[in-house]
């Protein structure tokens, strides 16, 4: 009986993986600005989802996975900042943007946003979540989402105004 349940869950996890893995990698990438870390986080997300499978099923799989990605990305950024601090390197290296590139572009500006603001921006403008959904996913109030998004946009606005082309820089 338990084997059947396990087999069914594996199958369900596989189906969920097929449906959501690329999106989760992209979301993780926008949160961490590092595609290797993004894949790592996405895989870890599924591993954790397996561990809390009942919650995945009760909370809604996609929102659970997204929330896990956001939390893991935040932890990852914190860990990387700590490593850089111990190594005495520049915190901007966490952004993932090339330090050789002196031109501060939009990508680097986004990457330099604090984790929560970056999460708000990505969830609102990439994942197209509403303020309410974003607040629920991040576990904060709607007011916090509004203020964090507003501040993020304000800090990006100058760059957005200057950089009309918004050309993505290839990595």
């Amino acid at each position: 009986m338990s084997v059947d349940v396990g087999r069914r869950s594996w199958d369900e996890l596989g189906a969920l993986y097929e449906a959501t893995y690329p999106d989760l990698v992209r979301l993780a990438y926008l949160l961490t600005w590092d595609h290797v870390v993004a894949e790592e986080l996405a895989q870890e997300t599924f591993a954790r989802a397996w561990r809390s499978w009942h919650r995945v099923q009760s909370d809604g799989a996609v929102s659970y996975l997204r929330a896990t990605v956001v939390n893991l990305a935040r932890s990852s950024l914190r860990r990387r900042l700590l490593e850089l601090k111990h190594r005495g390197e520049d915190r901007s290296a966490v952004s993932g943007a090339s330090s050789a590139d002196e031109r501060i572009d939009l990508a680097r500006a986004i990457a330099r946003l604090p984790p929560r603001r970056r999460a708000c921006v990505v969830l609102r403008y990439y994942a197209d979540l509403s303020e309410d959904e974003t607040a629920r996913l991040l576990g904060v109030s709607i007011g916090t989402v509004k203020s964090q998004t507003h501040r993020a946009l304000r800090s990006l606005s100058e760059l957005l105004a200057e950089d009309e082309g918004v050309e993505p820089r290839s990595r």
């Binding site: 992209r26 595609h35 993004a38 894949e39 895989q43 591993a47 939009l106 990439y126 918004v166 990595r171």
Partner: protein, 273 residues
């Protein structure tokens, strides 16, 4: 004429463009399954470590618990809790029980009281008011009278020859079952000395839970009278069953006199003089 995109629209477009360029490795599901199994192993190992740590903590702290906790077997922990079934009736001698967690705390190291060691003790004042046991049959009129008189014993430190600061309580007499107390052994009076013969502990490592098998009341100078040796509480070696170690309390450094093994029968003869 097309309208200028808003900053939010430009930001969203930029994010989608960047996201669309992310290379995604195909079919990483096996990696995820491997990761799941690794998580399971880690959780299992962590749970095992917790269990081992708890077990180690329990083993390490158990003697301390024995000291502060009630006697494990039979001893009265309060006047409302009668003492009963302290010892087997067929083991001979006067059967007494003792709060051994206190008795043995400061006297010897761990493992010291295994295999029926001897302990020289001094009988302290009775504490009938604290530890009296009235049995199950109360007189028809008047308050219940104590039928078992508890005494404190102060175990003599084998190395320093001094009274241990800790006291224990022994209940004079054999208590075969609840309500059937026996008067205390003759000679077991406050201020007198006694040799306590300890039963082996109930389980390995439970040296603080040993119980007194026999009490031999002795005069104050009787122990000294035996060749000037004190009886020590050394463990009789397995190759020498029934023998006990003795040492001279007046020897410099108070070290046990090596090799001074005394047969138990001779000790009894001496102490019963």
């Amino acid at each position: 004429m097309t309208s200028q995109p808003t900053p939010e629209e430009r930001l969203a477009r930029f994010l989608h463009q960047r996201a669309s360029q992310v290379p995604i490795t195909a079919d990483t599901l096996p990696l995820i399954r491997r990761r799941v199994r690794r998580h399971a192993w880690r959780r299992g190992a962590a749970a095992l470590m917790v269990v081992v740590a708890l077990l180690a903590g329990f083993i390490a702290l158990r003697p301390a618990w024995d000291e502060i906790g009630p006697a494990r077997r039979g001893a009265a922990t309060s006047p409302a809790t009668p003492a009963c079934n302290f010892a087997t009736a067929d083991s001979g001698g006067h059967q007494v029980a003792v709060f051994l967690g206190k008795t043995l705390r400061d006297v010897g190291r761990r493992g010291f009281y295994a295999n029926g060691a001897l302990v020289v003790a001094k009988i302290g004042p009775a504490k009938a008011s604290r530890y009296s046991y009235t049995g199950t049959q109360r007189p028809a009129n008047g308050p219940a009278e104590p039928t078992v008189t508890p005494y404190t014993i102060r175990v003599l430190d084998r190395l320093r020859g001094q009274l241990s600061p800790t006291e224990a309580v022994i209940f004079g007499g054999r208590v075969g079952s609840c309500g059937q107390p026996v008067p205390p052994p003759p000679g077991l009076m406050p201020g007198r000395r006694a040799v306590l013969i300890l039963n082996p502990p109930r389980f390995p490592g439970a040296t603080y839970q040993a119980e007194i098998r026999e009490v031999l009341p002795i005069q104050d100078d009787e122990v000294f009278a035996y060749r000037g040796f004190w009886l020590s509480a050394d463990i009789p070696g397995p190759q020498r069953p029934g023998t006990y170690h003795a040492y001279d309390p007046f020897e410099p450094n108070n070290r046990p006199a090596r090799g001074a093994w005394i047969p138990l029968s001779r000790i009894r003869a001496v102490t019963r003089q």
